[in-house]
Symmetry: C2
Subunit: 248 residues, 2 copies
């Protein structure tokens, strides 16, 4: 097999992985940062929380851990299949994480797709949190870090998600435009084209997405316009050790 992430000329590689279930198939094997994308929930919300001054976020991979942390007195955001869980302080909507609610606090975070993906990506050197709301800040940070990049879409229950793929395309575009990166990955090529198609009217495009309709049925689709505003924050949340902190 030809190694798809080989670099011919000092350019760093960008690779896109459409769902956590395909993460074990990525070609990039070393010296890489994973950018995690869960646009219609976790990663947009985490950026909003840091923009509003949260001190740090502790992601947990199971419901049991989330409950345990609540019992220990932590502030807990927790959601399953898109719905806030009864014991939690918040669901995972970005609108919950206001300055009043989160500033200078530690937040424990559990969500169906996002934290599972975070757990899967632990083989990377660092895991950064990506969303449309921090696209430019993230691009600058990735350029400065001097590593290969794998964009991991959280998807929905291991399936391909349109909104995460669009973000993968947007970030791939930004990275290629810096001239420091190249891609030999078909998923990245597809994402670039989807981004090009969607960019002129993102909100109209996202009407097609299945997750958008899931949120609508749950009455949680108020967050959609916010999720597609480019660069409304300047944070770069990065997961290292056991917590997420803003590194810029």
């Amino acid at each position: 097999m030809i190694h798809m992430a080989e670099s011919s000329n000092n350019l760093r590689s960008v690779e896109v992985c459409f769902t956590p279930k395909l993460f074990s198939e990525i070609a990039t094997r070393e010296n890489f940062i994973v950018v995690l994308a869960d646009i219609l929930r976790a990663t947009t919300s985490i950026c909003a929380a840091f923009a509003n001054g949260v001190k740090n976020i502790i992601p947990v991979a199971t419901l049991e851990e989330a409950k345990e942390m609540k019992n220990k007195g932590f502030l807990v955001a927790s959601e399953q299949d898109g719905k806030k869980l009864d014991f939690a302080d918040f669901g995972n909507s970005a609108f919950n994480f206001s300055k009043e609610a989160v500033s200078c606090k530690t937040l424990v975070y559990f969500t169906t797709n996002g934290t599972r993906a975070l757990d899967i990506a632990r083989s990377a050197e660092k895991i950064a949190i990506g969303a449309f709301v921090n696209l430019t800040a993230l691009t600058r940070w990735l350029v400065a870090e001097n590593k290969n990049v794998v964009i991991l879409c959280s998807g929905w229950k291991n399936k391909f998600c349109l909104e995460d793929a669009l973000f993968a395309g947007a970030l791939t575009r930004c990275l290629l435009d810096t001239s420091g990166f190249e891609t030999k990955c078909d998923s990245a090529q597809a994402s670039l084209d989807l981004w090009k198609v969607a960019q002129p009217d993102l909100l109209a495009y996202i009407e097609k997405a299945a997750h958008r309709h899931r949120l609508k049925k749950l009455g949680l689709d108020d967050i959609i316009p916010y999720s597609f505003i480019l660069d409304s924050t300047r944070v770069v949340p990065v997961f290292e050790g056991t917590e997420i902190r803003n590194v810029v």
Copy 2:
């Protein structure tokens, strides 16, 4: 979870699965036909073989079975990682399957991606072989069959492949245009958009695909223009039991 393949109005569903590794995640659970796509090899070649009068094709899932069938006197097409295997009569290029070579004969077929996918899709009621070269014939047959459709892209070693996704988009477009189908699948939506972008100049578009470059390095890229000619055959090869036969 909202069942994404639910039909609200007698329309049949179309779903796209980007790699065999995601097949267990499909939402369509009953009354469906799988269309298998492995454009830059198996499915295009199988259509070519039937267009040239092959009697039937016996796909095998392992190298050992292919060798065993060769020893029993069968004509064997066999390829691994894109290269013809020494013991076989042919590699899997469509150009091998001329009238002289295959007419009225039984062919045993092993290939890295295609037959593995065929094996995975056995839960479907029927498995049809799809390629650009039989797009219209396949669409007509699917309309007449009156079942839901799952388009399964073979991909490359479990990864997303641009050329298979483009075919998925082309077939989804054809099915939706008959007004008998609907889709609530993000992978299908993405495929439709990729097909729309690529359609004006398919061969130029496919220059981006990683597999295209793999074949070039192996000197096997002569088949590419043929693989993207729409409707050069009128066959619909269908896998039932242990063999593939042309059903139209």
